[in-house]
Amino acid sequence: MMDRIMNALPAPVFRVLNAMFGTRDEESLAQTVLYAMIAAVLVLIALSLGTSFFNPVILQSVLQQIPEFALLSLAMGLAMVTGGIDLSVIAVANLAGIFAAYIMTSPAIEAALGTGGMIALACAVGLFVGLLAGLFNGFIIVKFGIPPLLTTLGTMMLFAGLGTGITGGVGITGMPHVYVDAISAQLAGTVPLSFVMILAIFLVASWYVKHSVFGKSLFLYGESNVGALFSGIRIEKTLITSYAISGLLAAAAGLIMLARFNSMKVGFGDTFQLQAILVAVLAGMDPYGGRGRLLNILPTVILLQCVESAFTIAGLSPYAKKMIWGGLLLLFMALNFFFHRVVAKQQTARAIRQQAQAADADTTPAKA
């Protein structure tokens, strides 16, 4: 039905779209729309809130609040590159946080290793738990051929259930002060240290994905799993690695959440589930796989956090946010649908042009 509407669009509309986006693929189109939207939202916030939003304190707090959100979104984005999804990220974050919290609240370990050693051990164990959880996801997906959606749905319950079982559903509180304070450390007194670290992780991750066998394999698998298989790509290794990295990122997010709340239990950060998917889609990751730029996830996270802070300043209910996020997600996926059509039309036009040119140039046909 939408096809009909698309086909009914008059040619001038397409020409305008072409001129606006002047693009050869969905990826750039999505990116253009994303940056246009960021600009529009910032202008809107500036007009409605002015300096009550654009002041150092608020801006700093925006950056301060994004680390765990950014890491979870990156984990989700990574899964989406392969055409999968990772529903277990929050559960992994919780589980890793719970393990770390147990270690950090144990006087015996503190006595043996000192506070610093204890925190280091807790973080290492937390990350290790995340890694194991991720490997488990990847292993199940690859070896049994269960779709990632179903696998992570199951392991999400498994991990969350494990966390609830161990803790009895009660929060663990009372982390060391050093650890809790670390989250609010500033670089040169202005930029939060945590944000700098996140920025570094994103730059490294997106560079590596662009320039490594692993990254190429990831995107090619997402574009066509059978094509990747026939091209000699190490599918099993790539997928397991990718889910292991998702697990690590989720665990890191869990450690940050532990510092922020000075407490951990299953259920913390549940709202990130929808938001991480929203961010990945807004940032142009194709839920069917193979498309998108990981680096775009960071500005998208910042955008969402800005909107969230603006909402808080404007005194909107948290449920209004939930509704707007949901609505935005629907809107963007619908837009993606149109992007595909626009790009296909453009490519058809270009193919006709090029083949006509080639036919003209090729006056001496090949002999059989």
């Binding site: 749905l153 449920y319 996926m333």
Partner: protein, 365 residues
């Protein structure tokens, strides 16, 4: 065995069983493929009976009419909503918006009953079902128009529905005292009672909507053309479109029906707990999905049955409610449900993957 490419025996028969690789992996593979040949219903029945026996051995009080009636009362609403999820999953889709839909429907139904002063149960049920079906239809329409991934769409819809309820309807909890009396009775009425021990035990009226929902869903899926079209779409969407199945109609029916059942479930839940709290329920969607999958519904569509999903939900209900009886903390219930889910999915998908690879079909690598 002689080669005859056109007369292969069924790929599932024992000719596939001897496996070249040895060791534990080989044994695991063999065990998995043997397990995969059992029908879901018989396998689940076995597991459930075994579980009940274990629980009864540890705690003999467990085997009583009181326990059974209690399980029916607490499980009925969930079974109804699981039937809706089953219909969606047979078509190859997934729905996580149904609990938001349920609570919205229940809230609207309670509100309308109060505002109009029509304190009638059937009126409230009618409204809840209508609201649920309407919201579900919107789901179906969006998914169809933009051919979107169903999980992400319904996840977004969950946010929109819940947000709408809290922001636009400005929902506040409605306590028992302010609930219409018909709803309060609905939650406590029984079909029949008999004396037992200190007091009376009875079978909740929830059994009636449950039986109606079971019959309707079974009839829809097995006795109507549209029901078979739903299976066809899940089995091979392209073939279904080529066969002239109207996808829009199928999508609207699927999500509308799931929504209607969600509305009914919502009303039962609020009658049961005698409180309309707009913030409850949400977050338990996965339990229902797990039940449907444990009951043999495939994420890829085309498979799943009413008895399967009822048994799946029974197992989930048992695991959620009876762990304490065998001396485990109730907080472990999700762990076991998740474990069952991963295990059962592994068995069925491993079977498919092996069969496909054998037929040189590489689509699920």
């Amino acid at each position: 065995m002689k080669m005859k490419s056109n007369d292969m025996p069924h790929p599932q028969t024992k000719s596939d069983a001897p496996l070249p690789s040895g060791g534990t992996t080989g044994m695991l593979k063999a065990a998995l493929s043997r397990l995969g040949q059992q029908s879901t219903v018989s396998m689940l029945s076995f597991i459930i009976v075994a579980y009940i026996v274990v629980v009864a051995l540890i705690s003999p009080d467990f085997l009583s009419w009181a326990t059974a009636f209690d399980l029916v009362r607490s499980g009925a609403a969930w079974m109804i909503v699981a039937l809706g999820v089953l219909v969606v999953m047979i078509s190859g889709g997934i729905d996580v918006s149904f609990l938001a839909n349920a609570i919205l429907s229940a809230y609207v139904a309670t509100l309308v009953t109060k505002l109009t002063g029509i304190d009638s149960l059937s009126f409230a049920i009618l409204i809840a079902i209508a609201v649920g079906a309407f919201v579900g239809t919107i789901n179906g329409l969006i998914i169809h128009l933009f051919s979107l991934p169903t999980l992400i769409t319904t996840l977004a819809m969950q946010g929109v529905i819940h947000g709408f309820l809290m922001v636009f309807l400005n929902a506040r909890p409605i306590t028992a005292g302010r609930m219409p009396s018909s709803l309060r009775h609905f939650g406590t009425d029984t079909l029949f009672e008999f004396p037992s021990g200190a007091g009376y035990i009875g079978l909740s009226v929830f059994v009636v909507p449950l039986i109606i929902a079971i019959f309707t869903t079974w009839y829809l899926l097995n006795r109507t053309a549209i029901g078979r079209a739903i299976y066809a779409v899940g089995s091979n969407k392209v073939a279904a479109m080529r066969a002239g199945v109207n996808l829009l109609k199928v999508n609207l029916v699927i999500y509308g029906y799931a929504g209607a059942l969600a509305g009914l479930m919502g009303l039962m839940m609020v009658s049961d707990v005698r409180l309309v709290d707009p913030t409850t329920l949400i977050g338990n969607e996965l339990l229902v999905l797990a039940a449907a999958i444990i009951g043999g519904a495939k994420l890829t569509g085309g498979a799943g049955s009413v008895p399967g999903v009822l048994l799946g939900m029974t197992l989930v209900t048992l695991l959620s409610n009876t762990l304490v009886t065998i001396g485990l903390s109730a907080s472990w219930s999700r762990f076991f449900i998740g474990f069952a889910l991963v295990l059962i999915a592994s068995i069925s998908h491993y079977q498919t993957k092996r069969r496909n690879l054998r037929q040189l079909n590489f689509e699920n690598v």
